[in-house]
Every structure is written in structure tokens, then in C-alpha cells.
């Protein structure tokens, strides 16, 4: 049997990190970064960064991707990349609409 058994202490650490992240994101949500001279939409950036970090921990440790084959890594990366294509090309439309004032 070739599967890797993740030790319990890693699971506990990750779990605590996730709870911490949740608390952090709630706390940061109430701080108005715009007022303190941070770049605009910084609240969103903070929230998304924490969410991505939490998601990454779940993927790597709870879902064992850290200990999985290269194929699984490629699959996870491809899924995210494809969602990226959906977003990027759709927003290439919405973000550039105002640029040319001819017809539409």
C-alpha cells in the first residue's frame, strides 16, 4: 500500500490555522483600509488573500495534494487555470468597453 498517512498533528495545526484565518478575515472586514491610505479595494484584497490561503491549506493537507502524484497537481492547477480563462477573457470585454466611443 503506497498511500501516505498524514500525521494527526498536521491535521490539528491546519485546523487551527483555518480557524485563525476565519477570525482574521472577520476582524479585517471591519477596518476601513481606504481611510488609512491603503490602495483602493484593499479590503477585498485582504479578504481574498486570506480565503486563498485557507483554501490552499485545505487542498494541500486535508485533500492530501501535498503528498499526491504530479498528475493530481496538474489537475488542480488546470481547474484553477480554466476558471482563470473564464474570468480573464470575459473581463477583457467588460473592462474595455468604455475605451472606444464608436458605436458601442
Amino acid at each position: 500500500m503506497s498511500e501516505h498517512i498524514v500525521p494527526v498533528r498536521i491535521y490539528v495545526t491546519i485546523f487551527l490555522a483555518l480557524l485563525l484565518g476565519t477570525g482574521l478575515t472577520v476582524f479585517a472586514a471591519f477596518i476601513d483600509f481606504d481611510k488609512h491610505g491603503f490602495p483602493s479595494q484593499f479590503n477585498t484584497i485582504v479578504a481574498l488573500t486570506i480565503a486563498v490561503a485557507k483554501g490552499t491549506l485545505v487542498v494541500l493537507y486535508f485533500m492530501h495534494v501535498r503528498y499526491s502524484s504530479r498528475l493530481i497537481w496538474v489537475i488542480v492547477a488546470s481547474a484553477l487555470f480554466w476558471m482563470g480563462i473564464l474570468f480573464a477573457l470575459t473581463f477583457s470585454d467588460y473592462l474595455t468597453r468604455g475605451w472606444l466611443s464608436v458605436g458601442y
Binding site: 473564464l86 477573457l89 470585454d93 474595455t96 475605451w99 458601442y104
Partner: protein, 554 residues
């Protein structure tokens, strides 16, 4: 040719997957991928026939410039339903679910797909989706165009949009499960020695198709759900009057529906690779280029959907990006056409029915693909959009391409599937009739579209009548041509000449077992030491291909 010609299949008692078990239950509850492929073959043909009936009504209406056969609202339903049935219930499942299901395990030396019960489930899901859609058609039909553009489909149409959407949504799962099954099978169940680059190109195409299925289909699923949600709840997801954006619908819809056309054509290309190599007795020219082109088509196909939105408020800059990428996506397809042609060059071509279909595909797909370039170019697309030029373009690829490949593949593998030969004379005759009928139907439509005839109209200015009459005449010939194989395939199951294990004398793994195959495909799991299209014998091939109980597995 020694090793192939003298290959002997151990003669088992005449038990094969067809007669291994009798009774309706053994078919409806089967886990055998070959039986499931036949279940699909039957249902896919049924839906093709229904879609064909709608096509007949369209062509009959368009014989005269006036809208005299059908009312405009009825005509709207007819072309919508023609599109929905053909796209979702014929073109997308046809080759993967029939030929793919049957052959993929055999070509890689496996006993079945990775998840046989999920395979059966996907057929039942396909049927459920199909039956719900048929209910919607019978209850009153849907008139939004197969593209379901909002806000007509969400707010103004009085037809069975939600029911049809539900049928399509359910059918999507069938596609997803098939693709999932293929991907896992190809990764994990190849026989010893069957490396990626020894696999037939048919497998590469189906792998690429499966990638598209799993990455794209979920998006149409959520799109159809949101469409239904908007219609039922009357919220403004895509309706500008309520705060939504109709172009968002088109982005989401075409994000799937453009790659969907590659789901429809890639398996056909896989069949053509097999036919071209095997019926010219020559290794495919540039195997790895063809293999990688399949993957490239799958990837690039996801980057071009905006070319369906050139005449919407989509930004011009996005349009330029999509236009450029649409030109780029033609390249891997062109590579394939070059490679097939180079394979044929100076080879030993035998003009059997499958080869006739393959040659037809190469020419017709090229025409279809090249006319796509006019549509990919922003300025010309403004003129050609929503005209018959577009219709001719995609029918050249779908019918001239996919359908021809499907028929070619059916003929090629018929002896393996049924254990019988089809009548070769009738095969060649019907291939020619179909070719002539097809071109007569769709070539005039290019001209009519260029001259300005709009699509989805049941009445048109009289100057276009000549093209429509030619088109309808062609359609009758095409319809007649397609009836012939339907008849002789059924005929052959009872009266056709029995086929030996390898009637075409070819090196493929699927030919190294009896016709029809036993339920578990191979007596002993093969160990593969040869390339996919090895026609020139090598010294080592003397040992290759002979299995028996004394051969040990590594």
C-alpha cells in the same frame, strides 16, 4: 506482413459479448462497455432521425419564398428543435458514446472502462434528458433558437424553455460522466507496454474531447440553471429591464458551446486518423504532431468563444483578442489535415467505404474550416453574421465532418462490433450519394448567405429561391443516401457475411481478438511492444501478437 497475416486467434466456443447473456435485463443492466455502446448506438440513431425530420420540415418550408408551409412561430420552433436535438442528443454523444465506449478499452488492452456502472448510468441520464426534451417538444415546443438568447428566452418567449433547459441540463451529466470515465481509464488502465505514444490517435482525440467535456459542460449547466431561475423567479440575471446583462448570458453560453463544437469534431478527427493510416497501409505522418494537435485544439478551443459575440455590445478590444485567437485555433486543425494528406501521399490506398468517408471528411472539413476564417475576421463577420453563410459553415464541419467520420468509423469497425460485414458495393454507393447530396444541400447556402439571406427566417426575398431549391433537392438526396446504410446495417446483422477476427488485416489491438469480442475483450491481457500503426514488420514482431496461457505477465 507475416506477423499480422498469420495471426491466429485461439478458437474459443463461439461465445461473444452479444450472446453471452440473453434477455432484456442483461442488456438494460449491463456493465459491459460494448453493450452500452450499442444501447447508445440505438438511442443516438433515434434522436438523429427526429432531428432529421425537423430538417426536412425546414427544407420543405424554404422551397418557396413565402412562409406558406408553416407559421413563423412554428418555424421558429422547428429550427430551434432541429438544433437542440442534433447538437445535444446526436453530435455530442455520437462518436464518443458509441465508438469511443466500444473501442477505448479494447485499444488500450483493458477489460472495460474504469467505472462500468457510471458508464451505464450515463446512458440512463442521456435517455432521461432526451425524454424530458421530447416531452417539451410534444407539449408545445421551444422557439428561442438553440442558443436561448436572453431576454427573449427568459422574459418574452411563451414556450417550454424551462423543460427543455432541464432536459439539456440532465443530458450534460451524461457527457461529464463519459468524459470522466475516459480520462480515468486512459490514465490508469493501459495494458503493460502501452505507453502514451503507442496509443492509437483515436485515443488521443477522445482524451482531448474528454478534457473539453469536463471543463466546459459544467458552465452550460449553471447557465441553463440560471436561465431557468430567471424565468421562474423573474429576477434580473440576464434581463436588462431588471438590472441584468444579456451579454453575460452569451459569454457563459458560448464559453461551453464553442468548445462543444470541438467535442463534436475531435472524435471524428480521431476516427479519420485511424481510417487514413489503416486504409493507406502507412504509419500516420507526424504521429506526435497529430497527438499534440488534439490537445492544442482542446485548449485553444476554450479561448475563442467571443467570436460569437462580435455583433453584440462586446468591446472591440475583446473582439480583436478573440479574433486573433480564432485564427490561431485553426492551426492545429490544419496541421492534422496536412498530416493526413502526407500520410496518403505515396501510400497504398484501398478505396473501401471507410476510406471514401475519410477522403470526404478531409475535403469537406477543410472547406468548413476555411470558411470559418471569414467569420473569425471581425469586419467580414459583421456582414456574414446571422446569414446562411454561418449555417453552411457549421454544417460543412458537423455533417461533412463529424457525420462522415461517424459513418466511416461505423463501417470500419462494423465487423468487430457485429461480427458481420456490410455489403461493400452498397457501402460505396451510399457514400457517394451522401457526398453529392451533402454538397448540393450546403454549397448553395454559402452563396445565399454571402448575398444576404438571413438565417432563422421562414420567408425570404424571391432572389434567393434558386439557392433554396438546390439546397432542398440536395437534402432529399442526402436523406435518401443516409437511409441506405441504416437499412443494410440492420440487414447485415442477420444476413451479412461473417467477419473473421481481423478482416482488414491491420495491426491495431482491437483486431487481435475475435469478432465480435468476448465480454472481457481479450483472453489474456496483452503486453504491447509495438507502435500504433506498425505496417512495416520488424524482426521482433515475430514474437509479438501471439498470446497464450504460457505467456507470463510482467
Amino acid at each position: 506482413m507475416q506477423a499480422i497475416e498469420s495471426f491466429e486467434v485461439p478458437t474459443p466456443p463461439k461465445v461473444n459479448y452479444i450472446n453471452a447473456q440473453y434477455g432484456l435485463k442483461s442488456w438494460l443492466l449491463t456493465k459491459d462497455h460494448k453493450r452500452i455502446a450499442l444501447l447508445y448506438l440505438g438511442s443516438v440513431t433515434f434522436f438523429f432521425f427526429i432531428g432529421g425530420l425537423y430538417a426536412m420540415m425546414i427544407r420543405l418550408e424554404l422551397l418557396t419564398p413565402q412562409g406558406d408551409l408553416l407559421q413563423s412561430t412554428t418555424y421558429n420552433k422547428v429550427f430551434t428543435q432541429h438544433g437542440i436535438i442534433m447538437v445535444f442528443f446526436f453530435l455530442i454523444p455520437s462518436i464518443p458514446a458509441t465508438l469511443g465506449n466500444f473501442l477505448i478499452p479494447m485499444m488500450i488492452g483493458a477489460k472495460d472502462l474504469a467505472f462500468p456502472r457510471i458508464n451505464l448510468l450515463s446512458w440512463y441520464i442521456y435517455l432521461a434528458g432526451g425524454l424530458i426534451t421530447i416531452y417539451a417538444l410534444l407539449a408545445g415546443g421551444v422557439d428561442t433558437g438553440w442558443t436561448f438568447y436572453t431576454p427573449f428566452s427568459t422574459t418574452f418567449s411563451n414556450s417550454y424553455v424551462v423543460a427543455t433547459g432541464l432536459g439539456i441540463f440532465i443530458n450534460g451529466f451524461s457527457s461529464i460522466l463519459t468524459g470522466l470515465n475516459f480520462i480515468v481509464t486512459i490514465h490508469t488502465m493501459r495494458a503493460p507496454g502501452m505507453t502514451w505514444f503507442r496509443m492509437p490517435l483515436f485515443i488521443w482525440s477522445h482524451y482531448a474531447t474528454s478534457l473539453i467535456m469536463i471543463l466546459g459542460t459544467p458552465v452550460i449547466a449553471i447557465t441553463v440553471l440560471l436561465l431557468a431561475f430567471e424565468r421562474v423567479a423573474r429576477v434580473g440575471i440576464f434581463d436588462p429591464a431588471l438590472g441584468g446583462d444579456p451579454v453575460l448570458f452569451q459569454h457563459l453560453f458560448w464559453f461551453y458551446s464553442h468548445p462543444a463544437v470541438y467535442i463534436m469534431v475531435l472524435p471524428g478527427m480521431g476516427v479519420i486518423s485511424e481510417l487514413v493510416a489503416n486504409f493507406s497501409r502507412k504509419n500516420i505522418f507526424g504521429y506526435s504532431f497529430v497527438a499534440f494537435s488534439s490537445l492544442a485544439i482542446a485548449v485553444f478551443g476554450f479561448l475563442v468563444w467571443g467570436h460569437h459575440l462580435f455583433v453584440t455590445p462586446q468591446s472591440v478590444y475583446a473582439g480583436m483578442i478573440f479574433s486573433f485567437l480564432s485564427f490561431a485555433v485553426a492551426i492545429p486543425s490544419a496541421i492534422k489535415v496536412f498530416n493526413w494528406t502526407a500520410t496518403l501521399y505515396k501510400s497504398s490506398i484501398s478505396y473501401d467505404t471507410p476510406m471514401l468517408y475519410a477522403l470526404g471528411f478531409i475535403g469537406l472539413f477543410t472547406i468548413g474550416g476555411m470558411t470559418g476564417l471569414f467569420l473569425a475576421s471581425l469586419a467580414t463577420d459583421v456582414h456574414l453574421s446571422d446569414t446562411y453563410f454561418v449555417i453552411a459553415h457549421f454544417h460543412y464541419i458537423m455533417v461533412g465532418g463529424t457525420l462522415m467520420a461517424y459513418l466511416g468509423g461505423l463501417h470500419y469497425w462494423w465487423p468487430k462490433i457485429s461480427g458481420r460485414m456490410y455489403p461493400e458495393g452498397w457501402g460505396r454507393f451510399s457514400a457517394l450519394v451522401i457526398f453529392v447530396g451533402f454538397n448540393l444541400t450546403f454549397l448553395p447556402q454559402f452563396v445565399a448567405g454571402y448575398l444576404g439571406m438571413p438565417r432563422r427566417y421562414h420567408a425570404y426575398p424571391p432572389e434567393f429561391q434558386v439557392f433554396n431549391v438546390l439546397s432542398t433537392a440536395g437534402a432529399s438526396i442526402l436523406g435518401f443516401g443516409m437511409l441506405i446504410p441504416a437499412i443494410y446495417f440492420v440487414w447485415s446483422m442477420r444476413y451479412g457475411k461473417h467477419a473473421e477476427a481481423n478482416p482488414w488485416h491491420l495491426p491495431g489491438l482491437e483486431w487481435r481478438t475475435q469478432s465480435p469480442p468476448p465480454t472481457e475483450n481479450f483472453e489474456v491481457t496483452p503486453i504491447v511492444t509495438w507502435d500504433a500503426y506498425e505496417f512495416a514488420p520488424r524482426e521482433e514482431t515475430e514474437v509479438v501478437g501471439k498470446f497464450g496461457p504460457e505467456l507470463e505477465r510482467i
